[in-house]
């Protein structure tokens, strides 16, 4: 390793990393500070410049796990996490279950409406969900009467996840050589059995990656959940965290602790999957 050769680059990168990591360190420090304040040190009535600096440096005055235990004890945080888990899990399941056969059909068969169907799946990815908020809200809460329910949220998530899953999986099915299936057809195996017993097992890695992506998307979704969920015990983790630092409350310590707990699993997933991202 030749560190000295590129020292200006190293210096620049380290400086930038220091700057870029500051918000993360700050949140971590808040989480372990054991208090709900935004400042990391007590500000006296007439603070000096040093006091201000101490309040901003990402090292709490004392380290404590009180925010984590308080989050579990005083707030339904575990329930929020559980709700997130249920919604994201069901969304992923539903998305994969409806997307696998569709992707397979789009990949293997030529039928009237095939191109149009694929195009439709692409189009639905082009407009953001927020654009449909008003009609979607009326449909889900007024017509389906699933306003304040995890089921309603799951439905909407699954419908938005499906096109992505279909395109991802179709791409993978296209790479599976068709000869395998052709020889199975020669042997008189039926289409559903070929799909179930040959193609799906082959596509297992792609299905896993697709599932993890749609899980991450649902886990991180904030705005639809904020609109559809009203009762505190129905909140998903994003809505709960937002609620901790809304206009009426400012429990920054709880928020920071909760952020870490919510981010850790997805960040781990992200780094495991990052090779598939671009």
């Amino acid at each position: 390793m030749n560190f000295s050769k590129h020292w200006p680059i190293h210096l620049g990168l380290i400086a930038f990393i220091g700057l870029a990591m500051y918000p993360i360190l700050w949140v971590v420090a808040l989480a372990f500070s054991g208090s709900q304040d935004l400042t990391l040190a007590n500000l006296p009535a007439d603070p000096t410049q040093g006091d201000h600096l101490a309040a901003a440096l990402p090292f709490p005055e004392r380290w404590s796990l009180a925010n984590f235990s308080g989050l579990m004890r005083d707030l339904p945080f575990l329930q929020w996490m559980g709700n997130s888990l249920i919604v994201s899990g069901l969304t992923t399941l539903a998305g994969i279950v409806i997307a696998c056969p569709a992707a397979y059909a789009f990949s293997r068969f030529r039928f009237p409406g095939q191109r149009a169907g694929l195009f439709l799946f692409l189009v639905s990815q082009m407009y953001p969900v927020v654009v449909m908020l008003a009609p979607l809200y009326v449909i889900v809460s007024e017509w389906l009467r699933l306003g304040d329910s995890l089921w309603g949220l799951m439905l909407v998530y699954a419908a938005t996840a499906a096109p992505f899953c279909v395109w991802m999986l179709k791409g993978y099915f296209d790479t599976i050589p068709i000869e395998i299936e052709e020889s199975a057809i020669m042997d008189g195996v039926s289409r559903p059995r070929i799909f179930w017993e040959i193609v799906l097992p082959l596509a297992r890695p792609a299905i896993a990656v697709t599932a993890l992506f749609s899980f991450m998307t649902a886990w991180n979704e904030f705005i639809l959940a904020a609109i559809f969920l009203e009762n505190q015990d129905k909140y998903t983790a994003p809505v709960g965290l937002r609620f901790l630092v809304s206009d009426y409350t400012a429990d920054w310590g709880y928020f920071a602790a909760g952020s870490i707990l919510v981010s850790l699993p997805v960040a781990a997933l992200f780094f495991a999957l990052q090779k598939n991202l671009v």
């Binding site: 680059i9 439709l120 407009y127 886990w219």
Partner: protein, 555 residues
Amino acid sequence: MTRFWIGAVIGLLLAFVGLAAQQMGAARQQAIAQSAENATKIALELASAIAEGQAPVTALTQSQGELPPGFRALAISAGARTVLAEINAGGDLAPPRRLTRDEKLYYDLAFGLATALAINVEEGARVRPEINVLAGREQIRAAAPFPRAEGGPGVVVVEGRPAPPSLPLSRSLLAFSAALVGFVLLGRFWPAGQGAKAVALARMFALAAAILGSISGAWVGVLTAAIGGYALALAIASGGVEQAGKTLLKHNFAYAAVSPALLALTLLSFFPMFYGFVLSLTDTTLFNLSQPLLDRFNGLANYGRILGDFQVTTASEGRTLINYGNFYWTLGVTLAWTLTNVTIGVSLGLGLALALNTQGLAFAGAYRTILLLPWAIPNYITALAWKGLFNPQFGAINQLLQAGGLEPVSWFDQFGTAFLTSLAANAWLSFPFMMVVSLGALQAVNREMYEAARLEGASAWRQFWSITLPAIRPALAPSVLLSAVWTFNMFNVIFLVSGGEPAGATEILITQAYRYGIEEYRYGYAAAYSIVIFGLLLLFGLVQAQAGKRAETAR
């Protein structure tokens, strides 16, 4: 003969359902009107009782006995803290929490009415409770404000659902049997072949429906059903349905495999889009959702108000004020937002990628992993954290400014600084993407070209402009466009960091649509706004596709 029967039965069922639904709707309207009247009376009585000091506000929740079943009464007095406390009903020390949508309605209502009351009192008018009835979907809310010496004015809300009307079975049955008799008669005496029979049936059917409709008054439902039945019978008679059925059977596996996904997509993606378009042609709000769609229709008025309002500034007392709610202001902010973010994101990402791509750089992998972190964290958490960092009173950034001996900045009070807060947060979370993309593109550049350039004596700067940039541009362009669309739609950052402060100045189009639709309940207007956004995105996509095509032919 089977065809004939299928067409006949389906057509009849359609008419029956349409008629029944229409009848039920009429009965419900009547029930709602009746309940609204009752609720109005009770609300007025309660309001004057409170105003005269005969009843305490808190006692109201216990007065359920006097109300019709399914109704409840609430009293809310104005002033944020009292409203919250009283809504909480848990006493004065109940922790504040997010209002549910229903409660927010009261909250807004209490504010609006109480303000009106206060103005009346100031102007010396005698204060009288005034009623304000909102009939939402199957729900009645009657609100009457009351003046009060202590605790400020407030509002009594009586709300509930009227008992659901029973299906007017007799009338629908009558319609059904009338159609049946007509159908049997015609079926028996019509001489021609099957196809002609089905068409004749449909005709008869439309006629019967029209007659019945004119009797019952429920013409819209009957007409729709009749047209539906007519079309269906025609399709069956002409063999169109049979043709479609054959295609379906031939590709049965493919269609069966695609249909669940397509159904979900249609129901929760295309239908909302279509419904959004329909809503955009109406003046629908939360309060008139139960009215028939035709009554809410107002043509292109929403679009006219959005696109036709060019008054971006108002001159007032020699000063020029900006109308932050104006569409063109928000559009300008959105474009500035997209442009600055993409510029920052690309420069940061490309710069970092160039540094990381240095040949033989130690720890390049570790640097890359650390720099990916902002991308790995959910963006709403990032946004909320930056909101905290920019907190004017306690936020770390102002603490750092003060540690450096500078004055703290009230970030969210001016447009420029508020815009900056969102910009900082978004730059932070978007540079890793551009970094990864640029790094991938850089690694594909042929190193020998640099060797040759170096032999020619070209400077590093010159190498970048003449070799690197042209080489990575094709790989970078799609990602830049993608990130432009992402930024254009970056709801979370604007919504959670600047929140549109001050006074909606930093709102972008997509958060503005949210404000209109979800916070102001103006569904129709918000839908039109959303369609405009969709149109802009579509335009961008088309221009991009054109440019792509031109680039391809030029190559």
